[in-house]
Symmetry: C2
Subunit: 414 residues, 2 copies
């Protein structure tokens, strides 16, 4: 089936979902969770074929690990769906409302987008997460996963669609788009009017392509070149603890720190300790000459390093003369994701949070907190690094639009 | 100067505006209003050249009328700026906030986008309105007006920039982009990273081009193929009054009604009266055969008519057997702007408002109320017909993004 046909079917399904009750949607989510558990063997069998094919093609083991499913990973996916069922329904929430002086009653309500397209890379758990979040928010979803996970995704989507039908919901609320050809990505990007929003999740080049070429509105997610700035007034023990947490606790994710900026006034005290601690944790530091002066282990940073999201045990580091220079550095090289300052000065905290232009700015806290789960959203469809519609971690409300409902008694405009 | 250079200057100005106080921004708006009044002669002189050139080229008089300024129109523009100064500042508003169980304090604040690009057609009053709204919301603006208004826009922007400098704000907060070539529109559309959002205002083809080709995020505005559905339970006197208001009160605007759907059960009673009243007001009706049966004046509607935004004293009209068929017709031909039902049935009102997918749905009220001024926003930058970010009339809050500010006391993620 062509993407256009799939999108047309999705629109029809979306009409049903738009007015589905919370009870009906939650029953669908629960049925999906039950089905994933009950049909674990067939999903694992399909996944086994994907994993074997990936290994045969010499795929790096870290990528294979993201592709591979297990009983416990599937149980985790099912749990995720049950958690989504427990979240409040965003649809119907009154965002603004009131009665105008002329007596017109105005309400702005949350409504589903309609059809959401998600383009993502290897991890097949995204398939169930995205289906769950879009169903709860009343949207139909077109899932365009990676070719390397095609059999796994097909098995998961078959199970989810059967569960939807059992729960009395339209199967076409969840559809898998063919991943054998890049043409399907292009078709999604041109399906304006049929697809309401596209969310690319994955590597920087995938995201860039979608952002550049799509005529369907896009929510850009993910790239996080996150900085930690240690101010002259910082509690340096706190700074070290947060630095290690932000860099080392889970280096492969977008909210991990990638770059350290240290105020010159505390460089002598802070950097020797910090560099030793980073080395102990296996972190390679790419430093400016001032940083390199403190340790022979520091690799000379190139211009490219300042803009690099390592997603690994690597860190760029620079000494800055002032807070303003730290802000200017972040403005130049940051990706607008998450930026932290460690300081005990209130004016410094205020200037940093006001002047740094990012989805999230943190004071005396690890960048790793910028996450839908940590912020209490219960679930997350991605972290937006653009300014339109949603910025930062996106939960269920971010998967909705709004509609004005205006009620009168024969009102006409004079 | 190239668009890229202008956008780079705008980014620098935007840094100043982002942290400018309400007082400073309002002083800028007042200075702009004072300057427009004080320098009326030079603006009118420039406008006179544009108007003369337009007439020489045989421009239709209705377009010339939109281009022409006068003392009273300039006074209206100045008043608009003063009104914007009186509106609350959207920047800094806390959209969500609270303390997490771990003690982290989280606030989601409204912040300016940064640089907004506005691409618009002949009317030079948009120049001052857009400059005022973007200044108040802390954004720098790149204004790409019509070539036919180039001298008028240049004169207005020169006055506004001088006023900004007098008020201690950066002149580059308001810049006019060269309108002599279409290339500047293309450059704006490719300036992702420098321009945060583009808002096209004007005809359908301009909007379609920007939506299709821009890699900068776009807010689609304006096309309004608005329907009025007269339900079987409608108060037919009310229906007629609202129909005439929605069609005739100001036919050239996007929230005017363009299409009438009448339930078959009331067609015999309603349509003869409605067609006579419409004829009296000079409205040409393009009707289905059922409608044409009631009057020899009805022109046979073509398939094209159902999708046409006339913006004139013309109306398409059809008899529908059911409310569901009215909803299906609107789903097929509507532009997602404003759709009205006239009914005294609560279930019918509820079904219509739930099932019609549009920025605004009205019950027993004229579509003409879908307007930022009417809804009490104080000012409007356009009416969004897309679902991402803003839907319906856009006021000052819609010209902002948000930023999470997260404050801890050394918090790290376990």
């Amino acid at each position: 089936m062509s993407v256009i046909e799939q999108a047309t079917r999705a629109r029809t399904a979306a009409q049903v979902l738009a007015t589905a009750s919370r009870k009906a949607k939650d029953a669908g989510l629960t049925a999906m969770a039950v089905a994933l558990a009950a049909r674990t063997p067939e999903i694992l069998e399909a996944n086994g074929l994907d994993v074997a094919a990936a290994r045969e093609q010499g795929t790096p083991e870290s990528t294979v690990d993201r592709l591979a499913l297990s009983e416990s990973r599937l149980a985790g996916m099912a749990d995720g769906l049950r958690q989504i069922a427990g979240l409040p329904d965003p649809v119907g929430e009154v965002v603004r409302g009131g009665t105008l002086p002329n007596g017109l009653q105005v309400r702005q309500l949350r409504v589903p987008f309609g059809v959401v397209g998600i383009i993502y890379e290897a991890r097949p758990n995204v398939t169930a997460d995205a289906a769950g979040l879009t169903l709860k928010s009343g949207n139909a979803v077109l899932l365009r996963g990676s070719g390397s996970a095609a059999r796994s995704n097909a098995a998961i989507v078959a199970v989810l669609r059967d569960a939807l039908v059992q729960a009395g919901l339209p199967a076409d609320a969840v559809q898998l788009v063919d991943s054998a050809t890049r043409d399907t990505v292009k078709e999604l990007m041109r399906a304006r009017g049929l697809v309401d929003v596209l969310i690319p999740r994955g590597g920087a080049s995938l995201i860039r392509t979608v952002v550049e070429e799509s005529s369907v509105p896009v929510i850009e997610t993910g790239v996080g070149n996150c900085h930690l700035y240690v101010d002259e007034s910082a509690d340096l023990d706190m700074a070290l603890t947060i630095l290690l947490n932000a860099k080392v606790q889970r280096p492969s994710v977008c909210n991990a720190a990638e770059s350290l900026l240290v105020h010159a006034a505390v460089a002598d005290t802070f950097l020797p300790k910090a560099l030793a601690a980073l080395r102990e944790q296996g972190v390679t530091v790419h430093g400016s000459p001032e940083v390199a002066a403190y340790s022979a282990d520091v690799v000379a940073a190139t211009e490219e390093d300042w803009g690099t999201e390592y997603l690994a045990l690597e860190l760029s580091a620079r000494v800055v003369p002032t807070l303003d220079e730290a802000v200017a550095h972040i403005r130049r090289y940051g990706s607008g994701h998450s930026e932290a300052i460690i300081t005990s000065s209130l004016p410094a905290a205020n200037r940093f949070t006001a002047q740094v232009d990012a989805a999230a700015v943190l004071v005396n806290a690890s960048t790793r907190f910028v996450d839908g789960g940590e912020l209490g959203f219960g679930a997350e469809i991605g972290i937006s690094t653009q300014k339109l519609h949603a910025r930062g971690p996106m939960g269920l409300p971010e998967l909705t639009s709004t509609k004005y409902v205006i009620t009168g008694e024969g009102h006409t405009r004079p």
